[in-house]
């Protein structure tokens, strides 16, 4: 077991390293002049060269990548060019480990930007995860218990419709009607727990999180329904029924239990993907998380920020995959460890 965990972790480290290399190649190895974007549109030839040296774009990609990896462990000082640092020591920005880079556009380290955005994304994702898990499991079980009934068809049909409409259309619809026109929820804006307390934080978070949860709900309802239906045909369910157990107990204690493992796996991976930024929801509700950061960086051609966000998001996914695989092997002894 431990050998398996260690091997998975090593594989994960290799995968993350490979991912950083691929990302750097994608963003910096093309013949596109990254310095032109970093410097802005009205930038003289001279200023462009200064920016290029300051961000290390004058070096080959592999060297840039090695510098980035080194910065992750040891931190870096910007501008990267030593001559520039000596010429203007007051303008040197230190980026402590794990250093993700420097945004010329915002004139601050990416670590700073990420540490502001990440709590927003995490709040949103956690609340949404709880909502869609509860909703998905409840509706899924309800549909499975009344298989073929009007209720079942209604639930399955509704999830299909929600799934089919573009997610941003649903989000904007909810914002325009539920929040603005009908005033059911306050107009959502992000408040930190430290500023407004838990109640205000949660109240402002509810509609965006509900929207986000709705987008995931469809898949979880259908999956819960399918797994519960499948496990209801198992022998141990017949045993439970035969010994006179209540229907509720049979479904919740026995049938649901078998469905829980794949559900948790799926939820873990979806949650990890969300941590990289709930792009559409954050954009619609103007929530300053990683997703909105990406959109802004994309509009501003801020490549180092884009690289950093991609790497953060990718690492979350790789990490979640390892956790899920290890948990799976731990929970279910039939899973082959090898």
């Amino acid at each position: 077991m431990w050998a398996y965990v260690v091997r998975r972790c090593l594989m994960g480290v290799v995968l993350i390293l490979a991912m950083t290399l691929v990302t750097f190649t994608l963003f910096f190895a093309t013949p596109i002049d990254a310095a032109r974007y970093a410097c802005g549109k009205n930038c003289s030839e001279e200023q462009r060269d200064i920016t290029r040296a300051a961000l290390g774009y004058d070096k080959p990609v592999v060297e840039q990548w090695a510098g980035f990896i080194k910065g992750l462990f040891a931190g870096r000082d910007f501008p990267l060019d030593e001559a520039q640092r000596e010429a203007a020591p007051e303008q040197v920005t230190h980026c402590a480990a794990p250093c993700l880079g420097f945004s010329n556009f915002n004139a601050k380290t990416i670590n700073e930007m990420v540490s502001e955005a990440l709590p927003v994304t995490i709040s949103l994702s956690v609340v949404a995860l709880v909502l869609w898990l509860i909703g998905g499991v409840l509706f899924g079980i309800l549909a499975a218990m009344r298989q073929g009934s009007f209720l079942d068809r209604g639930i399955v049909g509704a999830t299909l419709v929600i799934y089919a409409f573009p997610s941003f259309a649903i989000a904007v619809f909810l914002l325009n009607y539920v929040a603005i026109k009908w005033g059911v929820f306050p107009y959502p804006k992000y408040t930190q727990i430290a500023d407004g307390g838990v109640v205000e934080w949660f109240g402002n978070l509810l509609l965006p999180a509900l929207t986000l949860a709705l987008l995931f709900l469809a898949g979880y309802v259908r999956m819960t329904r399918a797994f519960v239906l499948e496990s209801l045909t198992e022998d141990y369910i017949r045993t439970a029924n035969a010994k006179g157990l209540q229907r509720k107990k049979v479904v919740f204690k026995h049938a649901l239990r078998a469905a829980l493992t794949p559900l948790v796996t799926m939820a873990g991976l979806d949650f990890a993907t969300l941590l990289g930024g709930a792009i559409i929801t954050e954009r619609v509700f103007n929530y300053p998380g990683l997703g909105l950061l990406t959109i802004q960086a994309n509009a501003a051609f801020d490549l180092p920020v884009l690289v950093a966000v991609v790497l953060i998001a990718g690492s979350f996914v790789i990490l979640a995959n390892i956790v899920v695989d290890v948990l799976y092997a731990y929970i279910d002894p039939r899973v082959r460890v090898g």
């Binding site: 596109i32 974007y37 419709v161 089919a164 573009p166 399918a226 990289g276 559409i280």
Partner: protein
């Protein structure tokens, strides 16, 4: 992790459905049996007709635009009031403009949406072709070679899956569009955006197909006819593409009908994020995106493209489910 893919055991189909018949026994091929099962499923047939309807509409649109029947670009300022909303109720619906006119400049909504279907479907169709082709080729190679080739392809799949898709589609757009225009010399504007969306969706969308095809190949390559071909001296090329590929068309078809709607939705989402084909060239996604800012005042303009996207996405999915059930009676739902 293994993917519970679609399994098609063609040999068993005949046994299962063989009913005692009086009179002359008419033999049916597995394909005919699958078709019969598909035809019996009303929901699938309905979805099939809707999909065909969309495809015909998409094919007709460029012709209608060229002949001037549809006019997605001419503004009609006279139909717009001073708050930039259409004069007529329900988004300016009239005989000349059955879906109303666009707020602000008053272009004909029907023409824009119809022409948009054409662009949205060609984007998703081309992207699906790229994704499925990549998936099939890599899946067959991984499945037949085994060993380190299989391991490398497996790691490439892991790596591709590690990049969150929406994020990558958004983040890469800057560099990739610049690459497409400056290095590949594709003209800037709609053409470059079109090339970007198609290629990026294709490049990040092949993994599920590869996994399913690999799984299928692993079971098929142990079958007798493959041994026979190998013993007769067939080279790897012949075994891959002449012996194994023909047995894979069912799962490939199902994959195709399931990836396509995902890409239609993805195109719409990318439009919203501003990285798909941009107006004035219409796509379902960018028409819908444009409608969002008028939603409270002009619901018609919003709901028509939204429902049209939802309809094609649902129908493609139902078609895919129906095909899977018809081609693989064991799978069940």
């Amino acid at each position: 992790m293994t993917t519970p893919g679609t399994q098609v055991e063609i040999g068993e189909v005949a046994v299962e459905t063989a009913a005692p018949v009086a009179g002359p026994v008419v033999s049916k091929s597995p394909t005919q049996l699958a078709l019969a099962r598909f035809r019996a499923d009303k929901l699938s047939m309905f979805s099939f007709y809707v999909v065909v309807f969309y495809l015909i509409a998409a094919l007709l649109a460029p012709i209608l635009v060229a002949t001037g029947v549809l006019d997605p670009f001419t503004p009609h300022q006279d139909l717009i009031d001073d708050q930039s909303l259409p004069l007529n109720p329900f988004g300016g619906i009239s005989w000349e403009h059955p879906f109303g006119v666009e707020p602000r400049i008053g272009r004909d909504s029907l023409s824009r949406i119809w022409y948009g279907i054409s662009f949205s479907l060609s984007i998703s169709l081309l992207a699906t072709l790229i994704a499925v082709t990549l998936g099939v080729v890599l899946g067959i190679i991984a499945g037949t070679s085994g060993g380190w080739v299989d391991a490398i392809i497996g790691r490439i799949i892991d790596l591709t899956l590690a990049f969150p898709q929406t994020l990558m589609l958004l983040a890469l757009s800057t560099v990739a569009v610049a690459f497409i225009t400056q290095v590949l010399h594709v003209p800037e504007g709609p053409t470059a955006q079109f090339v970007y969306v198609v290629s990026i969706l294709g490049i990040f969308g092949w993994t599920s197909t590869a996994r399913i095809v690999r799984g299928q190949v692993l079971s098929i390559r142990e079958r007798e006819f493959v041994y026979a071909a190998r013993l007769l001296g067939a080279g790897p090329g012949r075994i891959y593409f002449k012996e194994i590929l023909p047995n894979l068309w069912a799962p490939i078809l199902v994959q195709f009908t399931l990836i396509m709607p995902a890409f239609i939705s993805a195109e719409a989402a990318l439009s919203y994020l501003g990285v798909s084909v941009k107006p004035p060239t219409p796509t379902l996604g960018n028409v819908l995106t444009d409608s969002l800012s008028f939603m409270s005042d002009n619901f018609t303009y919003f709901i028509i493209p939204a429902v049209l996207i939802a309809l094609i996405v649902v129908c493609f999915n139902l078609l895919g489910d129906g095909l899977r059930d018809a081609l693989d009676p064991k799978s069940g739902r």
